[in-house]
């Protein structure tokens, strides 16, 4: 199975009109053992640029910018920094920085918010 098909499927879910596509990406993509698949999924969720999809990659421990793989986490942060419309992302980062229960997730959100302010 070529990776191009995998990329196309994830891209299709990222752009799909049906909001249930986010659930599919979360269930299958963000919980995958393969780092590459989690990386592609996090990017797809950030590209989708909705409150639901951005909450997954910013506020969830072990996913997106909080992924245990440094490669996946840095790739997610790069994708956030490269966004054209950052309002929704900044709002969610503020909420996480102030209200989240886990200190490490708060700290990561604080750092990313600071980076986005300079980008």
């Amino acid at each position: 199975m070529k990776d191009r098909t995998l990329n196309n499927i994830i891209d299709a879910l990222s752009q799909h009109e049906n909001s249930s596509a986010v659930g599919v990406l979360e269930r299958v993509g963000t919980n995958c053992e393969d780092d590459e698949v989690r990386l592609l999924t996090a990017r797809a969720l950030i590209k989708r640029n909705t409150a639901e999809s951005l909450t997954l990659v910013i506020a969830q421990a072990g996913k997106g910018i909080n992924d245990l793989s440094t490669n996946v986490a840095m790739s997610s942060i790069n994708e956030l920094l490269g966004m054209k419309n950052k309002e929704v992302a900044l709002k969610i980062l503020d909420e996480v920085r102030e209200n989240h229960a886990e200190e490490s997730v708060k700290e990561t959100a604080r750092s990313v918010k600071a980076l986005m302010a300079f980008s």
């Binding site: 199975m1 070529k2 990776d3 191009r4 098909t5 995998l6 196309n8 499927i9 994830i10 891209d11 299709a12 879910l13 752009q15 799909h16 009109e17 049906n18 249930s20 596509a21 659930g23 599919v24 269930r27 299958v28 993509g29 995958c32 393969d34 698949v37």
Partner: protein, 151 residues
């Protein structure tokens, strides 16, 4: 006066009865009925019986020693065969380990790839065509299979 007469008078023993044995082994001068007793003259009353007893004893001892030797031999044989078996098992295990290390195993996933293409033909793999499919009904299964079969 002769010494013999002197001893006769002292011990009141007739000299004629005193028999001097050369090489006698009776330093204390023990006598029986006037005869000096020596260790050399002791004889068994039943020589044949004594001989039989001695022979029987020898037979018992030789039987015991023989059986001990047999037991030792049997134990040694069993130990040797157990050791040989253990060595064979060890050799087989080492050979198997070497074979597994040297053998490359490859799994052909061509079957799964063909199944994917049969169910979702090549033309339907573009982003545009995939976006027309239902996410939960179709795209979820496609995504799972694509992840499982990626090379």
């Amino acid at each position: 006066m002769e010494i013999k007469r002197i001893s006769e008078r002292i011990f009141k023993t007739p000299a004629s009865r005193i028999e001097n044995h050369e090489n006698q082994t009776n330093p204390f001068g023990v006598s029986f009925k006037g005869n000096m007793i020596t260790a050399d003259v002791f004889e068994t009353a039943c020589p044949k019986l004594a001989e039989k007893a001695a022979n029987r004893g020898k037979m018992w001892v030789s039987a015991i020693v023989g059986s001990m030797n047999d037991v030792n031999e049997a134990i040694s044989k069993r130990l040797n065969s157990a050791m040989a078996f253990g060595s064979r098992v060890k050799e087989n295990a080492l050979r198997l380990g070497k074979y597994l290390n040297e053998t490359k195993i490859s799994i052909n996933l061509g079957g799964a790839d063909n199944f994917f293409n049969l169910k979702w033909p090549q033309g339907s793999h573009s982003v545009k065509s995939l976006m027309k499919m239902d996410p939960e009904a179709e795209l979820e299964d496609m995504l799972k299979l694509a992840i499982a079969t990626r090379g």
